[in-house]
């Protein structure tokens, strides 16, 4: 089995983000109670688990000999590996789109698309497209 490399900064950010989200209902008095309880019970344990796993990965990496650390770093930054990662993400994204469209088609055929379901789906699609366009615009400016 391939050893895991040094945790990326995003793994720390995700874990801390979940923990902060889980703590928000405790810190903000005006938080809706029902939503807050669910957020605490979901985000706090998830964030703590993510933080622990990331810390363990980091510790494991730190304990490796220098050569192994360099090899893992190289594997992580290798341009072919980065290309494979990008392509895999892109293909999965396209696959998700196809599955999503198929799901919507099936739901439409079975008369399941009531406005209560359709409206959040429409918002989700719109949000996803907007975020995609914004990220592309930002990357276009950056490069």
């Amino acid at each position: 089995m391939k050893k895991r490399g040094k945790p990326s900064k995003w793994q720390w950010v995700y874990a801390l983000g979940f923990i902060i989200a889980g703590l928000l209902p405790l810190l903000l008095p005006f938080f809706p109670e029902r939503f807050g309880d669910r957020l605490i019970s979901l985000a706090l344990p998830a964030g703590t688990a993510m933080l622990l796993c990331t810390a363990l990965d980091w510790k494991k990496f730190e304990n490796l000999p220098w050569e192994a650390q360099a090899r893992l770093d190289r594997e992580d930054q290798d341009e072919r590996n980065l290309m494979l990662r990008d392509r895999a993400a892109w293909l999965c994204w396209r696959g998700e789109e196809v599955l999503f469209a198929a799901g919507l088609g099936i739901a439409y055929c079975m008369d399941l698309l009531v406005p209560k379901i359709l409206y959040p789906i429409f918002l989700l699609v719109l949000l996803r497209l907007t975020v995609y366009r914004l990220v592309r615009w930002w990357l276009n400016r950056k490069f």
């Binding site: 190289r74 594997e75 290798d78 341009e79 072919r80 590996n81 290309m83």
Partner: protein, 65 residues
């Protein structure tokens, strides 16, 4: 695009792992480059050419069309 990496490497008795170490990529990347399944970035092409003390055009052969 084709390249002469395998030929140059064998001529100089360098292993794929040694070349990979020298240009800071994985051995799998060198394998893919040699088999023509992957095209190097300009930066990697430059590093490989410099390693062999040649120009990029002497290592990487661009084919029109």
């Amino acid at each position: 695009m084709t390249n002469r990496i395998a030929e140059l490497r064998k001529k100089r008795h360098i292993s794929q792992a040694e070349l990979a170490d020298a240009v800071d990529v994985t051995r799998q990347t060198i394998i893919s480059l040699e088999s023509g399944r992957y095209n190097a970035s300009l930066l990697l092409a430059h590093k490989i050419a410099r390693y062999f003390a040649l120009t990029i055009e002497e290592v990487f052969l661009f084919e029109e069309g």
